[in-house]
C-alpha cells in the first residue's frame, strides 16, 4: 500500500528552486543545441582570433566561476554551523568573484564592439562575404567620412588631408572592383578577387586556416589565382603583425570603421552574444541576490536560503562549463 505524500521531503523553497532549475536546463539546452547545429551546419565559421576571442581570458573566467562555486558551498557549510561572520565572508567573496566574471565579460564585449562586431545592425559592421552589397556598404561609409571631413570647411588641416588621402586610396580600390564587375558580367571572377583584396586589406584574417576555410566555403572564388591572392594578402598581413592581431586599414586608422568581411561572422556574433548574454544575465541576477544577502545576518535560519541561491549559482557555473569549450576552444 502506498502512503500519501503531501510534498517532496525537502523544504518548499528548495522544491521550487529545483523546478525552476529544471526549466533552466531546458532553456539552456535549447540555446546550446541551437548553437551546436548552427555551428556544425554552417559552411563557414570564424576562427577565434578573427573575432577577437581570447582563449586564456575564457579559461580565466572559468577558473573564477569554479572558485565562486566553492565559496558559496563553503558559505552554506558555515551558515549551517551558525558561523555567521565566516558565512558572510564567503558570500562576499562569491559576490566579488561574480563581479570579476562580469567585468572580464564586459572587457571581452568591448574588444568586439571596438572592431564593429555586434550581434545586429546598425552598429554591426560584419559581412559574410565580399560581394556587391559589401562594396556598396564600403562606398557608403567612405562617402560619409569624406562628407564629414569636407563639411568642416574649405581649408583642410594636415590631419584631414592625410585622412582624405586614405579615403582616396580606398575609393579607388572600390571603383576598380566595381568597374571590373560591371564590365565583365559574364566573368565576374576578376571583380570578386578585387573585392576580396579590398576586404582583406580592411580586415585581414588572422591565420592561414581562416583563408583556407574561406576558400573551402566558397567565400574566396574558386581557382588558383584567388588562392594565391588570398595567401599573399595573408602574408602581407602577417608581416605587419602586432600583438597577435594582423593589422588592416581598420586597425591602422581606427576612425575608418569600414564594413568588414568575416565568413560566418554574422551568425557567429548572433549566437555568441545570445549565449553569453543570457549567461551573463544569470550571473548578474546571482550577484544581486548575493548583494542582498550581504545586508542580513547569515545564520542557521538562513541556511536554506543560502542553499537555494547556491543551487542557482552552481547551475550558472554548470552552463559555463559547457559554454567555455564550445565557444572558445571548438
Amino acid at each position: 500500500m502506498f502512503a500519501y505524500q503531501p510534498a517532496l521531503p525537502i523544504p518548499n523553497g528548495k522544491t521550487c528552486m529545483w523546478l525552476f532549475l529544471s526549466t533552466e536546463i531546458m532553456f539552456f539546452a535549447g540555446l546550446i543545441g541551437t548553437y551546436i547545429v548552427l555551428r556544425f551546419g554552417s559552411i563557414a565559421w570564424p576562427a577565434p582570433h578573427d573575432v577577437h576571442l581570447s582563449e586564456p581570458i575564457g579559461a580565466f573566467n572559468t577558473f573564477v566561476l569554479i572558485c565562486s562555486s566553492v565559496t558559496v558551498v563553503l558559505a552554506l557549510e558555515a551558515a549551517k554551523f551558525n558561523h555567521t561572520a565566516k558565512a558572510k565572508g564567503y558570500i562576499l567573496l562569491t559576490f566579488l568573484l561574480g563581479s570579476v566574471f562580469l567585468g572580464v565579460k564586459a572587457y571581452e564585449y568591448q574588444q568586439k564592439f571596438a572592431h564593429g562586431i555586434y550581434p545586429m545592425k546598425p552598429h554591426g559592421l560584419v559581412y559574410d562575404k565580399a560581394d556587391v552589397h559589401y562594396a556598396a556598404a564600403v562606398r557608403k561609409r567612405l562617402g560619409e567620412l569624406s562628407t564629414r571631413i569636407t563639411a568642416a570647411g574649405a581649408e583642410l588641416t594636415p590631419d584631414d588631408q592625410a585622412r582624405m588621402k586614405v579615403l582616396d586610396v580606398l575609393s579607388k580600390l572600390v571603383d576598380d572592383a566595381e568597374f571590373a564587375i560591371r564590365n565583365n558580367p559574364d566573368a565576374p571572377e576578376e571583380g570578386r578577387i578585387k573585392l576580396m583584396e579590398l576586404a582583406y586589406l580592411i580586415y585581414p584574417p588572422h591565420d592561414h586556416n581562416t583563408v583556407a576555410h574561406a576558400a573551402e566555403a566558397g567565400a574566396v572564388p574558386e581557382g588558383p589565382a584567388m588562392q594565391l591572392v588570398a595567401f599573399q594578402q595573408q602574408k602581407d598581413a602577417e608581416e605587419s603583425h602586432d600583438g597577435g592581431h594582423a593589422q588592416g586599414y581598420n586597425d591602422k586608422y581606427p576612425w575608418l570603421r569600414l564594413p568588414i568581411m568575416i565568413p560566418g561572422g554574422p551568425l557567429w556574433a548572433s549566437t555568441y552574444f545570445l549565449l553569453t548574454g543570457f549567461h551573463a544575465l544569470h550571473v548578474l541576477i546571482g550577484i544581486i541576490v548575493f548583494g542582498l544577502l550581504l545586508c542580513v545576518t547569515i545564520d542557521r535560519t538562513r541556511a536554506n536560503f543560502v542553499e537555494n541561491i547556491g543551487l542557482y549559482w552552481h547551475f550558472v557555473d554548470l552552463v559555463w562549463i559547457f559554454l567555455f569549450p564550445l565557444l572558445y576552444l571548438f
Partner: protein, 155 residues
C-alpha cells in the same frame, strides 16, 4: 496507527539523514572537487596550444572537451549541488528535464544540422541570401524535381 500514516516522519527522517551525511566529512571533499575541476579545466585548455593542435586531430580534441565538460558537470551536480546525498526525489526533477533537453537538441538537428547534407535546394531564404557560396538555380531545380519525382505515387 500504521507506519504509513506519518509521511512527515519519514520526510523528517530523510532530511536528518541527508543533513548528517552532508555534515559528515567536512569541507575537505569540496576542496578535492575544486582541485579536480581546476585540473579538468586545464585538460580542456591544453587543446588551445599549438603543440596539441599539431599532434591531435580536432575530432579527438572535441570529444575530449565534451567528456571533460560532462565530468565537470557531474562533479558540480553531485557534490556542490548535493545530489549525491539527496533522497530519491532527485530523479523526479532531473530525469524529465534531461530527457526534454536531449529531445530539444535532437529536434533541431533535421531543421538546421542536416541542411548542409540535404543540398542547397532546401536552404532557407535567409540562409541562401547570406551563404558564402550561393547555389545555382539549375542545381536547386534539378534537386527539387528529383525530390518531387521520388514522392510521386504514380512512379
Amino acid at each position: 496507527m500504521s507506519e504509513f500514516s506519518h509521511p512527515h516522519d519519514h520526510a523528517q527522517q530523510d532530511r536528518h539523514d541527508s543533513q548528517d551525511e552532508i555534515n559528515h566529512g567536512g569541507i575537505g571533499k569540496y576542496l578535492v572537487v575544486f582541485v579536480a575541476l581546476c585540473l579538468l579545466t586545464m585538460c580542456s585548455f591544453v587543446t588551445y596550444f599549438d603543440f596539441w593542435r599539431h599532434h591531435v586531430p580536432y575530432e579527438v580534441s572535441r570529444a575530449l572537451m565534451m567528456a571533460v565538460s560532462c565530468t565537470k558537470a557531474m562533479l558540480v551536480i553531485m557534490f556542490f549541488m548535493h545530489l549525491l546525498w539527496e533522497a530519491n526525489w532527485k530523479w523526479v526533477l532531473t530525469i524529465p528535464a534531461t530527457f526534454m533537453s536531449i529531445f530539444l537538441m535532437l529536434m533541431l538537428v533535421p531543421d538546421i544540422g542536416w541542411r548542409k547534407d540535404n543540398g542547397y535546394a532546401r536552404y532557407s531564404d535567409d540562409r541562401l541570401r547570406y551563404a558564402a557560396d550561393p547555389p545555382s538555380v539549375e542545381a536547386a531545380e534539378v534537386e527539387a524535381a528529383e525530390h518531387e519525382l521520388s514522392h510521386d505515387p504514380t512512379h
